[in-house]
Amino acid sequence: MNIEKNQNGSELVVKVIGRVDTVTAPELESQVKESLEGITNLELNLEELEYISSAGLRVILSLQKIMSKQGRLIITNVNETVQDIFEVTGFSEILTIE
């Protein structure tokens, strides 16, 4: 997994590349959380995310909880495999996916 962060004022775009699983999810969590101070708009661009397991969903849920207090989280460019996972878990209902 690789992460590209792009901050513009209070807006942060995080591009997640590769696989978010048991091994890589903790890194995604720490990398994003360390950059959240003062951020009101967080975008997770999942265009190049191959797949996500429950470990990754836990990170997204945790980010959603933080951002619902300080602004908003939007998820963009979700592929079919990831969308399937979001749908069966009900995450598509609680996340803002564009």
């Binding site: 091994v23 191959e50 797949y51 996500i52 849920l61 909880k65 069966v88 609680i94």
Partner: protein
Amino acid sequence: MKIKEITVDAVISNISVVSDFVNEFLENDGCPLKTIMKIDIVIDEIFGNICKYAYENKCGKAEIIVGIDEDSNYVSLTFKDSGIKFDPLEHKRPDVSLSAEEREIGGLGIFIVEKIMDEIDYKYQDGKNVLSILKRW
């Protein structure tokens, strides 16, 4: 039906070893990429759980048996460990209708596996947890 198996130490760093082994076998036998992706998620969930919980702080082994039937278009995947007896299918299901604030973090792995696979079966046999999964394509 072709079958191959691997036995590894149940440690998180071996998730990629198991995935690579299973992927190579399935790719060579014409399994669709979309199915392989889902199998990878299952390996992460199930093998990951064995690593984290089956042997507590001790080191133990896990066996993974993968099978493919190209004529009937299905993959079978079996996980065996000699750790604490644990039936993941008896575990309480997460409430997927709750809002983000109400959701608890965790408990989703086995739920995802049940949703994206076609059949799943647990038994305790010869001192081992045996979890068998089947996915058609």
